[in-house]
Symmetry: C3
Amino acid sequence: MRAYSSDDGSLHLLRLPPGSDLYEGVTEAAGELGIRAASVQVIGALRSLRYGYYDQQAHEYQELTHDGELEIASANGNVSIREEEAFLHMHVVAGKEDGSTIGGHLFGGEVFVAEVAFHVLGGEAPVRERQEFAGLDLWPSE
Amino acid sequence: MRAYSSDDGSLHLLRLPPGSDLYEGVTEAAGELGIRAASVQVIGALRSLRYGYYDQQAHEYQELTHDGELEIASANGNVSIREEEAFLHMHVVAGKEDGSTIGGHLFGGEVFVAEVAFHVLGGEAPVRERQEFAGLDLWPSE
Amino acid sequence: MRAYSSDDGSLHLLRLPPGSDLYEGVTEAAGELGIRAASVQVIGALRSLRYGYYDQQAHEYQELTHDGELEIASANGNVSIREEEAFLHMHVVAGKEDGSTIGGHLFGGEVFVAEVAFHVLGGEAPVRERQEFAGLDLWPSE
């Protein structure tokens, strides 16, 4: 992996290689850079996408898939600590050939091009813990 | 409120509690952190959304509502000064259960989960003033 | 042009004047600020949009147009070096009057309001070079 980094370590730009999984690739890049907490943005293009929707009543993710090329119109998220490891939470908006868009929670997708920006938090990393109201691992809000 | 902050104050991560209003909650968090100027990103999920469209001819916002659960696929915006107070301007893209998306100017919405990143401007804050061409309070461009 | 900048030069906020082209305006602002590498976000509103889709097989962009007002629900991208000059790569999601969204690669569009945040990389700038797998000028990934 090659990353381009601010001298003070606050910002990193890099491209994932084609064929990477978008979710795994960003997670692995964070690991290689030693990032424990960050805000993350990605643009690029995909060969496929797995994304979804969290059912707030059933406390279950519904997974949707798109087979075929898409633009990554935006992917926004963050890195923080979950079970003592750096964990990526990312949402995505993707554009189809006709310009229409789909979006939601990012599970993964095959990368064609993915240009990643990590904005590093230079301080105590938030830690995700189970929050029963949501059935999700979330940062404390208080 | 609990925030996770860079030692130099340049980046803050935090989660809004469930039941917060997305617009008011981000505004109040900026206030508690003493933020006068920042770039802001949010991902998460909503129980409802009020968003809209600015009619550039009539100089009026048109408000749209969505009652029911949505993913916050992205929310991007900024904090700056308007009438001597920190003011949030944020746009949103939200994903439905079927993966389709809606978006525009953010008025508000009931938070299920909202993970917020403030990228603080450590310098003179922009001040919004009425710009007649738009009928909106905007930063000087010159 | 007037920009509001962090004392350490890491973040700049500014508004493009109405009638600017979104792509050219952000590129020119980067030039005036001497930015060679950055992550960029924009929100605002447009009078028209030229956007598109990259055909990953044919190695060609397909350009789509929207004539008429749109919200810039998000515009995310980056600045890096291509042919020795600062080059903008930006993707967009735009919202229509009915709240529906379109999105993809940004070619340009007439600005009504565009509020821009540049997060500057304070280090070696990535350089775009032709990558044959994609038919595009991309940063090295290794």
